[in-house]
Amino acid sequence: MREISLHILDIMQNSTAAQARVIKVVITVESGKSMLRIVIEDDGCGMDSKVLAKVTDPFTTGRTTRRVGLGIPLFKASAEQSGGDFAISSQKDVGTVVRARYEINSIDRPPIGDLPGVIADMAAGYPTVEIHLQLENGDRQFVFNSREVKQVLGDVPLSEFEVIVWLREYISEGLKEIFGGVLSEINS
């Protein structure tokens, strides 16, 4: 994928398909500043060890319409091509954790991309799912939580146009604040 955020979207959609009620995305600049870590954690139905052992094989898929699934294999290849690594762990009926690391200055690292759009659209599209985004860089931290925003909004739905525009803007500011100057694609 052209952007890391599209890999994140793909994994989040796996989570909703697994009936997750909470999806947590944590993006961290690791100490030493050379690696970007992305962790996507859900409380969905999870996988047993037999399925888990096969998910990085592109010929494994949860789909019934076709016999090839590439979401996880492409994310893994993207991280590994960028001097990083990839791991996935899961427990049946507990949830799944996907963890990818990218070397920040690798020439093959895709840009983070439209993360604000991905998170805002997931929050608006799945209002009953708690979408949690956390950005971390040293002692700087940004948190967005769709359940908290929903409580503040009261009767106004997350899918309201003005709300989505605000969500994108808010997350975009957070990205700049936390990763500006560290990720070359984000201006500080």
Partner: protein, 110 residues
């Protein structure tokens, strides 16, 4: 043109043995961003890519591409070749660059 015939025109090696059916090449597509290739490569294209990972077999299968051509003599992983044979996907290894491969394809009327 059949994939095996085109391989001969390129002076290239078919890594996956004798193909089980006559796969026709109807065009050429070049690209190394797998998700992009999946969403843009026309069906029955021969696909030129520098990737050698197992994922390319899945992309060729999902996008119904006629064969995969690895340029510049890049070594292809054994696991990829074996899976391609299982999936009846043809992998061709050429010493030429993607540009040279496309030029020859054009001259062949592909």
């Amino acid at each position: 043109m059949l994939a095996a015939e085109f391989a001969a025109k390129l002076g290239a090696k078919v890594l996956t043995g004798e193909p089980r059916d006559n796969t026709e090449i109807k065009g050429i597509y070049c690209g190394d961003l797998l998700s992009w290739v999946m969403s843009h490569a026309p069906k029955s294209s021969a696909w030129v890519t520098v990737h050698t990972h197992l994922n390319i077999v899945a992309v060729a299968s999902i996008s119904e591409l006629s064969c995969i051509i690895i340029p510049e003599g890049i070594k292809v992983d054994e696991a990829t070749i074996n899976r391609a044979i299982d999936e009846n996907t043809i992998i061709i290894s050429s010493e030429l660059t993607a540009y040279e491969i496309c030029s020859i394809a054009h001259d062949c009327g592909i």
